[in-house]
Symmetry: C2
Subunit: 133 residues, 2 copies
């Protein structure tokens, strides 16, 4: 599956790319380049970053800013578009869907005559556990 997906985006299906894409599909969570490299074993960190650029360009992954100092990446599954709730206290990350999101994004773009290609949205605050604690 990763091989065809890569080729359909004009990306050579190298061993490294197939492994990284498969890993991200399985994790389906925001991960840093370093976290991904550790699980891949035989891929250099520079290559992870380079592949991530390619994947971002192709729209296969999303960049996620969790407010820590380093970028996270997440597989962009079109069937499960979502955003994140990030707990300031315990750091837990929950997925969340925003109702009528497509409609909202379209309307914002239309009004500003701006062709929206992608958007980033994260919510920060306190998760249910940390509110009571």
């Amino acid at each position: 599956m990763p091989a065809q997906l890569l080729q359909s985006h004009q990306l050579k299906a190298t061993k490294q790319r197939r492994e990284l894409l498969l890993l991200m599909q399985r994790e389906h969570r925001p991960r840093t380049a370093e976290q991904l490299q550790t699980k891949l074993k035989d891929v250099s960190l520079a290559t992870v970053y380079r592949m991530m650029d390619d994947f971002l360009q192709a729209g296969l992954v999303n960049r996620v800013d969790l407010g820590h100092g380093h970028t996270h990446f997440e597989y962009a599954d079109p069937k499960h578009h979502h955003h994140h709730l990030i707990c300031d206290d315990c750091g837990r990350i929950e997925d969340v869907r925003v109702p009528n999101e497509t409609k909202i994004v379209l309307s914002v773009g239309r009004k500003a005559k701006f062709r929206v290609r992608r958007h980033a949205l994260e919510f920060f605050g306190l998760c249910s556990r940390c509110q009571t604690a």
Copy 2:
């Protein structure tokens, strides 16, 4: 004005803080720590970062991730809450307001039992000029 605003947030009104806050209020655009330091002249970069932490904590500024490698900061004017449209092509940044945003944020938090304290939202794509070019 900056002095009172700082004190109302339990922050000592030092010369550096007053100048930075005033500058950010005047610019009301996303700026990097370095850009701000350049305009302040007699404040060290480390101090700009430290003050930014304090201001973020106090809710006086927002962190903005424009997708370039470095963080931008913007004065958080409660009267003019907005988000950004960032052009992938020319880099231009436009402000945008999202209709019914408060309602949406509240509903997302309620469903997930998550107390939302703040959120980050940016739109990326092509501005009106770059669509035709």
